[in-house]
Symmetry: C2
Subunit: 396 residues, 2 copies
Amino acid sequence: MAKRVKGFRFASTHAGIKRDEQPDLGLIVAEAPATAAAVFTRNRVVAAPVRLSRTTLRRNQGKVSAVVVNSGNANACTGAAGLADARLMAALTAEELGVNKRNVLVASTGVIGERLPMEAIELGIEEVARRPLVGGFDGFADSILTTDAGRKVAARKVDVGGQRVTLLGCTKGAGMIAPNMATTLSFVMTDARVGRAALDRSLHGSVTRTYNAITVDGDTSTNDMVLVLASGAAGNRALSSKDQRLFDRALEDLLDELAHKLMHGGEGVHHVVAVEVTGAKSERAAQRIARAVANSPLVKTAIAGGDPNWGRVISAAGNAGVPLNPDRLDLWFDNVQLVASGERVADSAAEKRAAGVMKRPNYALRLDLNAGIARGRYLACDLSHEYVTINADYRT
Amino acid sequence: MAKRVKGFRFASTHAGIKRDEQPDLGLIVAEAPATAAAVFTRNRVVAAPVRLSRTTLRRNQGKVSAVVVNSGNANACTGAAGLADARLMAALTAEELGVNKRNVLVASTGVIGERLPMEAIELGIEEVARRPLVGGFDGFADSILTTDAGRKVAARKVDVGGQRVTLLGCTKGAGMIAPNMATTLSFVMTDARVGRAALDRSLHGSVTRTYNAITVDGDTSTNDMVLVLASGAAGNRALSSKDQRLFDRALEDLLDELAHKLMHGGEGVHHVVAVEVTGAKSERAAQRIARAVANSPLVKTAIAGGDPNWGRVISAAGNAGVPLNPDRLDLWFDNVQLVASGERVADSAAEKRAAGVMKRPNYALRLDLNAGIARGRYLACDLSHEYVTINADYRT
């Protein structure tokens, strides 16, 4: 897998925010200001670094020289002082790198409600800014982790505008692993030259079908952020609409891989299940039903138990607040059909095959509404004993 | 506690639907047609008995002579044949009792997707109809249980219209105990004479603040039903508006007690937590936020772990899709304040006191939005290891 992408350097260190010796401060440096697009949390309670970075990107027209990230502390619910701390992180980074602080983004992840240890962070920023290759991309990818089981990275290459361009991404933790840790951070760097508006459209489209269509516990956190940076260092020609589609597909594909790794990387997750709803009247209706099934604790415990409990799936679908005709529902576990026209068609042999499907680490629950042609998909996971152990015992 | 209410008789038997020897068929007989009001599941996938009873009540203007209930089988996802079975249950009951089948309601609870054992049910109906006092109210209350830990009954007396009237109610199982069992059934009988429209208003108001404001796993089932029957046998005068308020309060109070018993009665539930949201711009907004907090798996595991994790509460509130100003939030665990104006105010001593509050079987999470005067409440419970064990292992 590619570990480099033209126009970017990465660094990381253990600044002392986390108690263990793991890296907890990371830096992305763009050799020249990169074009940026971002999607932020929809939670109404927004952490200081998200408030700052959102404003920064709006004001600087999406030009980014550096991103400074810390793990171990989310800088959320910290009021005006927390916002000042985030601003100081940007200013210190800008000063060390000799760039405009208006082009520096900040991201944080970790415990909520505690002030950042700013002295440790200041020393850490000095260190990573002065040695901007230490640790490389892998070190950076490690520095954003909290209680994640391991590093989550992915890469793609695609030929567009007469050049082979690279997309390189990393991500961290979903709800199940780090609940009151701020949840999802994701960074994708590409050397493609892409216009800001096109990059923005590409990211929003991709995120809708990937990061915004996964659920572990139905919550979005105070710090969620997906950021794409394009350096243009690959020197490709302006993208034709065909090139743009190729680039969009590569980005979505990359984010889908990262989203899967996010789900699988969580402790307590043994199965990642695609809830695929077809035959809907609209994509929105299909997504809502897929989401209701994926969020249902009863479905998620059935996934944990390997029980082909189709009644829970049907009942959860009926609970989505979307009109549907129960007498038309067809349901498969991968290719094993258990329900046809709203009634059980499975004999005990079919249920046994479905139970076999549920032993797989990845499989699909396919629900056909037989009411239209729109479709939607959500990724679900199991609700296991480990989930309860981790989340009931965490922090205390 | 009162175990009788004028104008009604109760009977129950083991018909053989359940494998054990527990009662699984129950009968309510009104000596003269009673006035009825009901609230049914909002799930779009509706079981046959609910379809039938909903239609019956619409057609007969809310007059009910008998209700026949079985547990052990929900008669849900059973198609046209299932609807015919439900109709047959009503017809057999009417025939045995010599009443009009248009005045007979049917309710079922149990596993989804299997046809009812109609021969056993037919024999059972003959038995309960011919010996309409066997088991009495307690026996009836037992006959509607599925995997509930025990009987759930409550009673109230109130003086209205020159008479002391009785309200007597029973309920069964919420999601945590019997997930793909059809969830909530509740029956309330009163000897008060109340008009149909007033009874209907009274029930809908009460249910909004009680049964529709509890959550175990966020799902409503295919079979949920709350039914109130008024015999008028107390002989009270027509209710004045003051009397009506007294009656309404007694009904709400009774349903609140049953709702609490429903929550506490579930295996795996050790804490029932009132999420109280105040200072909202509207009751609807307050309810939505209370619901989001009560449904959050991260909050529910924190309840299970006894961890005063206020960050999860704030984050879940921010996730409700309702505008709120995070810098104005105040949060208490009972009387221990942990957050003021969106920031942590608790020292470690206060967090210890909050952890003490969380050992109680009942306590409140009180969130003040400081944005208005409306309020809302939802009852939440813990998401425990027992929940996962029961729901992951159930059925298989």
